[in-house]
């Protein structure tokens, strides 16, 4: 049972790390603000979500597990709102390299 849980943790956290890596590569390589934002949200939403999911079986108590999920939800709210704001500002200023 614990082997299965550990395996689940490893798979989920590695997948999360992959999304962070992909998001970072996208941030560095994509041509304009909007596509870069698109890449960045993958790291926040999916990457952090998968890392949190992977860590859940190892949380010491239900409260800690809920806190982990709560952190992820807060990051979701913040990243969604901030990327909206950045995108709007970029839209107003017009295309720029």
């Amino acid at each position: 049972m614990s082997l299965a849980l550990n395996l689940f943790t490893i798979v989920a956290v590695v997948a999360g790390a992959f999304f962070f890596l992909a998001g970072t590569v996208g941030l560095l390589r994509f041509p304009d603000t909007f596509t870069r934002l698109h890449a960045l949200t993958k790291a926040d939403n999916l990457g952090l979500g998968l890392v949190v999911l992977g860590l859940l079986p190892h949380a010491s108590s239900l409260l800690v597990a809920l806190k982990l999920i709560f952190v992820w939800l807060l990051v979701l709210l913040a990243s969604a709102a901030v990327s909206q704001l950045i995108a709007r500002a970029a839209n107003r200023e017009g295309p720029r390299a």
Binding site: L77, A81, Q84, L85
Partner: protein, 313 residues
């Protein structure tokens, strides 16, 4: 594995520090500084200094970062002009000599540190029981070195008075910051409605657990200030005129309560800033409770800057 992580952190923070210094664009340097603060937070966590990590994250990275972003955006107009100016060889040479001398002095100081480092930690551990708080940081800040903390709070009030004194005469006593024009149905207004209840809870929680766990009034007050600033940025509330009596009272209530309890100690416990035996914890919590609104107000108002609009606007 952990060693690799530590070395990676150390290399990254040094590189980021150098980049922040050599960056030509002010805004880019500020962004570098904020990332530097976040990395420093991770390093403090790694050193098991959770209290310091919380403070660094809240004040060093967050609040100072926001202050610097404000400064950078104000300097943007003069940026190209300032960059075109190039100091003469003499000035540059002198600057290099002074900077190297400071670095050298720091290196000598660090190398001359005694090993093991002198520490008062055993005394704190031996005497923490009389303060009845579980977090040694809180015991040091509010019992063993209470005067330091009081002076810190007073310095912050002075700093805010300094910021206010930049106000033009017509705006004195008025509202700080520019009027915000934000879409009332926009995403910022939405976040400013959803987040504050959560943030206020988090701020009060961090304040409350500070007695026994990492946390405390400073970190809690920063979160409360951030929530207030968020509602002002979104245009849901306006900054209060600085002539309001409740505002001025709120700014000094923390230091005043601190001084009052400290003076009372001279009578009830036989020494200035001493607590009567058995009542240390209620007094410490009372001081922290009084400091919380003062610090939140000071930090938020410092970020808003000098008054710019007359109170009637």
């Amino acid at each position: 594995m952990i060693i690799a992580l530590n070395i990676g952190l150390a290399v990254l923070i040094l590189a980021l520090g150098v980049w922040t210094i050599v960056a030509r664009d002010t805004f880019a340097a500020v962004v570098g500084f904020i990332a530097y603060g976040l990395l420093l937070t991770l390093i403090w966590v790694q050193l098991h200094g959770i209290d310091v990590a919380l403070t660094e994250g809240a004040i060093g990275g967050g609040l100072t970062g926001a202050l610097l972003i404000g400064a950078a955006s104000r300097l943007r107009k003069t940026e190209s002009k300032a960059r075109a100016e190039r100091p003469g060889a003499l000035v540059r040479g002198l600057a290099a000599v002074v900077a190297s001398a400071v670095t050298l002095a720091l290196v000598i100081c660090v190398l001359a540190l005694p090993d093991p480092a002198p520490t008062l930690a055993p005394q704190v551990a031996a005497n923490i029981a009389v303060t009845e708080v579980g977090n040694p940081i809180t015991a040091v800040l509010l019992a063993f070195r209470a005067v330091d903390t009081l002076l810190e709070a007073i310095v912050l009030v002075f700093a805010l008075i300094g910021v206010w004194s930049f106000a033009p005469d017509r705006a004195w006593g008025g509202r700080p910051g520019a009027q915000q024009h934000v879409d009332p149905n926009g995403i910022l207004a939405y976040v400013a409605r959803v987040l504050p209840p959560i943030g206020i809870m988090a701020g009060l929680y961090i304040f409350w657990v500070g007695a026994d766990h990492p946390g405390g009034k400073f970190q809690g007050a920063t979160i409360l200030a951030a929530m207030w600033l968020l509602t002002m940025m979104a245009g849901l509330t306006d900054a209060p005129p600085i002539s309001r009596t409740w505002l001025r009272f709120g700014l000094v209530v923390g230091p005043l309560a601190f001084i009052a309890i400290g003076l009372a100690g001279a009578v009830t416990a036989g020494a200035l800033f001493a607590y009567p035996l058995g009542y240390a914890k209620p007094f410490i919590i009372a001081i922290e409770l009084a400091l919380l609104p003062s610090l939140a107000l000071i930090l938020a108002l410092m970020l808003l800057g000098a008054p710019q609009r007359a109170a009637s606007q």
